[in-house]
Point group: C4
Chain length 275, copies 4
């Protein structure tokens, strides 16, 4: 790996790209850590502003912090667009859209009074945490997790479909058994209760009162207790399968810095350089 000092001879774009997008050099690591802290502080400020007591006392400071971070993130977003060779491809990528969405609400609040309701989009900024995770070896693990989850997606969709159909049938049954006087005022509300029960959440805001209702609820709970095994079994099987077939090494390519190579790979799958 070359010394960062050598980069002064190279194009400044390449150097900036290294700092902003990579985490292999000292500057790149520092940039990512600072960015992570800035995101956390920014989200914290949004959270604290929602607490009425704090807003009354420190509302002005929080408003200033929000604008400072928005300006900083806007500059960062522009730098990212300038630095990459294909700006449009970055702009429409998942993280590109998240980057845009996390600065827009503050600007929109100048024109629309309902800016407060757009704060929710801003909190997606936290997802950036995973990009910063690149500085650790967590990316390999995350990609393995994602692969196992993607492989088990069709089975999970079938399962969630079956669970949903079940809650519709059981919720309707409870609506007929318990009726409105016990809190089961409509079929949608009864389905809500069935989901609360089947997933073992159990708020207790609505609870069966009749003997027949409690008997059916008992059945639903044991059912829910039993079928929780299904997604776990699916993911377990996929995960142990994935581990056997594709053990990923945490080694980064010395030439291009690409990660997530198979443990039996001899050449980088991105640049073809010897590992």
């Amino acid at each position: 790996m070359e010394q960062p000092g050598n980069t002064s001879k190279q194009n400044w774009k390449t150097y900036l790209h290294e700092v902003i997008f990579e985490a292999d050099t000292a500057e790149g690591k520092a940039f990512d850590v600072v960015l992570l802290i800035a995101i956390l502080l920014s989200v914290l400020a949004v959270m604290l502003e929602s607490v009425s007591g704090i807003k009354a006392e420190y509302g002005d400071i929080l408003y200033t912090i929000e604008w400072v971070f928005t300006v900083l993130f806007t500059l960062e977003y522009m730098a990212r667009l300038i630095v990459v060779t294909k700006p449009w491809r970055y702009a429409v990528s998942f993280f590109g859209i998240v980057d845009l969405l996390s600065i827009l609400p503050t600007f929109l609040s100048l024109f629309f009074a309902g800016a407060h309701s757009l704060l929710v989009i801003r909190s997606i900024r936290l997802l950036r945490v995973f990009r910063v995770f690149k500085l650790a070896r967590f990316l390999g693990e995350a990609s393995q997790l994602t692969a196992a989850l993607r492989a088990s997606r069709p089975k999970i969709i079938v399962f969630i479909g079956a669970v949903f159909a079940m809650t519709v049938v059981l919720g309707t049954a409870m609506y007929l058994i318990e009726g409105g006087e016990n809190g089961f005022t409509s079929i949608p509300k009864s389905i809500y209760w069935a989901v609360v029960t089947l997933t073992t959440v159990g708020y207790g805001d609505i609870a069966p009162q009749t003997v027949l209702g409690q008997a059916l609820a008992t059945l639903i709970m044991i059912l829910g207790y039993g079928i929780i095994a299904v997604p776990t079994g699916i993911v377990s099987a996929e995960m142990s399968k994935a581990k056997e077939l594709h053990p990923v090494t945490t080694q980064a390519c010395p030439h291009c810095g690409a990660e997530g190579h198979d443990s039996d790979a001899s050449y980088c799958k991105k640049c073809g350089g010897r590992l």
Copy 2:
């Protein structure tokens, strides 16, 4: 695969069968998608009718929608009976019965006032969603899931039996410890509480108040937390076993359209044609 246009030369029954039961041709796919949307709208209408505010305002429209869908589904049910070569075998199959049950309640409501209580049978209509899933490759996944669940059924029954015996013993103990003044008014109600606790649902409508009761409840919760591992372990083991022995391919036979072939199969297990 033959062009749908060629079917005009064939028997119209074969063509209709292709459209209604299969999802390989453009018409078949369109039919299934339309049917899926119709079922969803129909169930939605039944749900909305149960919300008192909506019923008061849009009751007449929802009543019309219910009848329109019932007539459509009745025509579809008749078409299915005419099209298949063995109508009786279809009529007594699981989906045949579901198809009949999802149109009956509306007709019965003409003769019986308690038609409202038969709405629950109608919501089973949603299970048809899985038939429509045939258009995706989900059928293979569903059959794999079902196979793993069927294989683990005896163990699950033993497990649920053990859990039920446990809740009877623990529920009775709590009835004796807490007594009626703390909500444990009878043994059945205490068993209901034990199931609520053991399955980690925890409504909180009944909760132990005495020190001894809370100590026993603590024991039950840790027990429930521990034994939730058992069904998961059963299904996990069966699922990874099933995957190793019978990896199912999503490839459909080009001759007969049958799905669910083993990945090492060279000939269709239904028609013997080369895959």
Copy 3:
């Protein structure tokens, strides 16, 4: 297998043993099914007696039923003792003790007024359900489950010990943070709350009110969500291991009726007869 009619030439003890303890002959099966129903009815009577409304109206009938079943079960217990060759060994076995305990409370209620509090022992009678399961092939499955659970017992004990230590530390912390005015009146009660939270039961009878308490509760919940994986992982690993090493066949020995043979066994492990 010999015809039941031939048994008239054999010792009547052997015949009765076959009927009472085995489920291979028609008489043995019938006896077990009748016994199962009798146990269920008896437990149901005890349950119904606890419902105040039902006791007021049908108390006398339920009292008679209780005595009838007690007399029947006493006769059965005596028959078991007479029939086996080593009565003492049966009497001190698990099911022998359960058999005795399920008839004692009724007799004790003649001398002690607090007989009501002994009803809990009677409900253990339900565990007999598993003995009757012998008539199905569930015994093999149950023994497999038990083997997997026994193998994972040391790990589970370590895990439950760790969870208990964790709840003591976390419960004490919550007691100090929240204090008595928010329901955390003592350390034992706070530990009870910590178990309720960590096991994801969540009654809601006690819930944190302060910001710091809610933050710690959030941590406990995510912790509990994470560590629920541990017992599942243990049992899953043991279960898939057990299946690979010791696949149990459900075939019963034609000579002695012993069950639970390994699938590669050629001779009965109890009597040495050819399978």
Copy 4:
């Protein structure tokens, strides 16, 4: 293994080390069992003191018990420091710090009135239970568990990070949908609710009241029900992997008493002696 009687010829330090740190000799076992009971009684005394009724009546006795145990544990801590060859290394080890922290609060209570709030540190004493577990074969199991958990740590951290980001986004959404009048008074409180729901704890102290809120809550619950599979899958895969690669024997080295050897080991990995 040498007779304890022979130790009189050896250095008394070596003998005391054997008694205090090992559990192979009769004296060592007795010491560990007595210590375990002392820790349990001491923690029990602290717990009981927090119950207002008990403190009023037995406060003086409990105060005396606290001081007696503190003096005993102080003597034990000093003995440990004297006996080991490298006292500083022990003092900064995990159990060394725990030993110190479990005696400090009582002494500190002489100078500071807020001693009551330091009781929480004392309850960490219970973690010593695991040291005493050395006398059983549980240590091997615990080390296996720890190894599997350590191996799955990076994946679990990624997972918990993802869950946390999810609760921030979903909590903020619920804050905007439900608003303060339904209990969602601030974003932090809404995040607390999202964690309570996603982890299926479900206290019910805050519950959605609007139709849109209940719909989103339904989504969160099904999501939580699905993703609970992820940590389980991770740990399951690691645990079955760990078992296959490193089966640990419970045999202790006859020369040095070291435990946790691999089952195919012929020589002790600590002293090189023949096993």
